[in-house]
């Protein structure tokens, strides 16, 4: 039985400023006629002001370290999984790796550092990478961190969107957030990650991409949303079932499913796809808060974990399934049982005020 890893600590850097979908749509030069809030269920998202992607990553990393039993210099690895490397205005940074900037900021003097980029599946991919390093005995503990300043893509969309079927509409659903986890080996058989699997169906690599705009400044996010959703929903339920089977669970063993918070509507359609595949009704275990934060890309699952732990819905001992779909197309699933993290997290956050 391979060694299990667990989430030892969590940190979320959520910007204070909220921007409503109505305000964002009002900023569009050519406002599409559709009601984006009604279509997606996203009412607002957070926007980083005077801080950039690296700052969000560093903020989250510091918060994760603040509740961790590990000191910065004890971290053996830092893997940064951000997609949006907007570390300064109107710039996208490829070098140095963002993980180097996090290491410098937190003082993790001996940490192995590099970036892993795999669209919205990046954070789970980063945890999978650390799992291999821990299981092989290469490291003892490590941090996966993302600082997602996605809003520059949304601002480009407000300038370039022309109509209700524009392929940049999905860029109007994203939001900013930083997230970090520290993972190490689980000390008991019951808690920790039971299954963590990612698969790339590269035949579908054309449904979503991001690059600098050809029409003017800024970056763009192009999404063929309908095709992406059809292919994703046709394929992910089988992998979800495989994750449950490999863990030895059925749907009734699940306390929570945390899907990638793409939109409220996308999550509902995903639930329908699973129901159809399973051929049975599902318990009400799917958590959704996309209406409050939009799609925070790689930070999405950890932001949901943070939010629902603070609400008291996620408790120690609960069985959780993470589901992610990302451009590529990458489908990923993780099952884990929580140790006392929810109690420790609530005590930590409430002890020093909301994070």
């Amino acid at each position: 039985m391979p060694q299990k890893i667990k989430i030892e600590s969590l940190g979320i850097q959520l910007p204070d400023k909220a921007l409503t979908t109505e305000e964002l749509m009002a900023a569009c030069r050519h406002r599409p006629r559709l009601d984006l809030e009604k279509l997606t269920g996203i009412a607002e998202r957070r926007v980083a002001v005077d801080e950039y992607a690296a700052d969000l990553a560093v903020g989250a990393a510091r918060k994760a370290l603040a509740m961790s039993r590990y000191a910065p210099e004890e971290l053996d690895a830092i893997v940064c999984t951000s997609i949006s490397k907007h570390h300064r205005p109107d710039e996208f940074s490829f070098e140095p790796a963002t993980a180097v900037l996090v290491r410098r900021a937190v003082g993790a003097k001996k940490a192995l550092v590099f970036d892993v980029v795999n669209a919205c599946a990046g954070l789970l991919n980063g945890i999978w990478v650390l799992q291999g390093l821990i299981r092989s005995g290469t490291i003892r503990c490590g941090m996966v961190v993302s600082g997602e300043q996605n809003m520059p893509l949304a601002w480009t969309a407000t300038r370039e969107v022309r109509h209700s079927l524009d392929r940049q509409l999905a860029a109007l659903t994203i939001g900013d957030c930083g997230a970090a986890v520290i993972v190490d080996g689980s000390t008991d058989e019951k808690s920790g990650f039971h299954w963590l699997d990612l698969v790339t169906g590269a035949r579908h690599d054309h449904y979503c991409y991001s690059k600098p705009s050809a029409r003017g400044g800024g970056g763009i996010l192009i999404t063929k949303a309908r095709g992406l959703q059809i292919v994703g929903n046709a394929n992910f339920p089988a992998y979800l079932k495989q994750a449950l089977d490999a863990t030895g669970w059925d749907v009734n063993d699940l306390h929570h499913v945390i899907p990638h918070q793409v939109s409220v509507r996308a999550i509902r359609q995903g639930i329908k796809a699973v129901k159809s595949y399973m051929g049975c009704d599902l318990p009400d275990v799917f958590l959704c808060h996309a209406e409050k934060y939009g799609n925070t890309t790689t930070a999405s699952h950890l932001l949901a974990l943070h939010d629902f732990m603070l609400q008291g819905r996620i408790q120690s001992g609960h069985n959780v399934l993470l589901v992610s779909g990302a451009s590529g197309i990458v489908i990923s699933h993780a099952t884990f049982t929580l140790d006392d993290l929810p109690e420790r997290y609530r005590a930590h956050v409430n002890g020093r005020g909301p994070g």
């Binding site: 391979p2 997609i83 949006s84 490397k85 109107d90 710039e91 996208f92 940074s93 490829f94 070098e95 140095p96 790796a97 993980a99 180097v100 900037l101 290491r103 410098r104 192995l112 550092v113 590099f114 892993v116 980029v117 795999n118 669209a119 599946a121 991919n125 990478v129 799992q131 291999g132 390093l133 299981r135 092989s136 290469t138 520059p152 990612l198 698969v199 790339t200 169906g201 590269a202 035949r203 690599d205 979503c208 991409y209 991001s210 690059k211 600098p212 705009s213 050809a214 029409r215 400044g217 800024g218 970056g219 996010l221 394929n235 992998y239 990302a326 451009s327 590529g328 990458v330 489908i331």
Partner: protein, 293 residues
């Protein structure tokens, strides 16, 4: 003890052509050559990591590895045999990081075969004069060596984040389609040499080796001046350091493996020989690892 080894190496070296090759084309050509020389079929590749930094059109999503996986026809459909493709970015040492990760996954029993690709190109229509470099590609297939002792030794990464500003590469998003801006400060080579000295000493120490046990050092071909100063910095005689800078410019992430391919073709490395591979990149990170052929 079984080690991870390079089962196959494919390269797409810098070339002159009327129409510049894209980063994708270099990666795919290197990948196809690597697969052609391998005993493995594309479907055997469980993990594909792209460690290249500079990509066509500065695409940042999806992972460039997905495009390479598609072009190489490696388990492109869902269900059946599966492949995970992702990008790993860490400047010039990215391919070393990827090989290190795949080694860990193999030792953990997660995978049997992995592939690392990298390619570099600046496709800007009007490139910044200081941000040009020779386009190239390289690909490795890695597996566990069938013979004890062959393959990679201990990977050492020496990161000095206080020097993080000595090498930066950003895409300026103000002009249409963006423009790549690479900036190297004058002290960069000194930082590489200082990191290289420490990393080489640590790599040799971890594997219980002395400089005399190594047949050839294969470093990144940063520049003629760097290669001239490197032997003294790492404590090796000049003739034991592979210097191809007269014909092989710095190609960033692919540099060490293009040089390794040259050294193998020249007969300097082969069965029974021991090499020391040395990569340098932003961060500033210098990576060193011994390799037993």
């Amino acid at each position: 003890m079984r080690h991870c080894r390079i089962e196959s190496l494919g390269v797409s070296p810098p070339r002159r052509s009327l129409f510049g090759w894209t980063s994708h084309r270099h990666a795919v050509v290197a990948g196809k050559r690597c697969l052609a020389a391998s005993k493995y079929r594309p479907a055997d590749v469980r993990i594909l990591v792209n460690a290249g930094i500079h990509r066509d059109g500065h695409v940042c999503e999806p992972a460039i590895a997905c495009y390479v996986q598609h072009a190489l026809d490696i388990n492109v459909d869902f269900h059946g045999r599966r492949t995970l493709a992702f990008d790993l970015l860490n400047g010039g040492v990215g391919m070393f990081n990827a090989a290190h990760l795949l080694t860990a996954q193999m030792l953990a029993g997660e995978i049997q075969v992995g592939m690392v690709v990298a390619s570099e190109v600046n496709t800007d229509r009007r490139p910044d004069p200081e941000s040009t470099f020779a386009a190239s590609g390289a690909a490795l297939i890695l597996d566990l060596s069938p013979r004890n002792g062959d393959g990679f030794g201990s990977f050492v990464f020496d990161t000095r984040e206080e020097n993080a500003d000595l090498y930066t590469a950003v895409v300026d998003l103000k002009p249409a389609r963006g423009q790549l801006i690479v900036r190297r400060r004058a002290e960069l080579e000194d930082a590489y040499l200082a990191g290289g000295s420490a990393a080489v000493a640590e790599a040799l120490s971890r594997d219980g080796l002395r400089p005399g046990d190594v047949d050839l050092v294969v470093p990144a071909q940063i520049s003629p001046s760097f290669l001239k100063r490197l032997p003294a910095a790492i404590g090796f005689p000049k003739e034991k350091v592979a210097d191809f800078t007269a014909t092989l410019p710095d190609t960033l992430t692919t540099s060490v493996f293009l040089a390794l391919d040259r050294a193998r073709a020249a007969g300097d490395l082969g069965p029974g020989k021991k090499a020391l591979l040395l990569a340098c990149g932003s961060g500033v990170t210098v990576a060193a690892v011994t390799y037993q052929f």
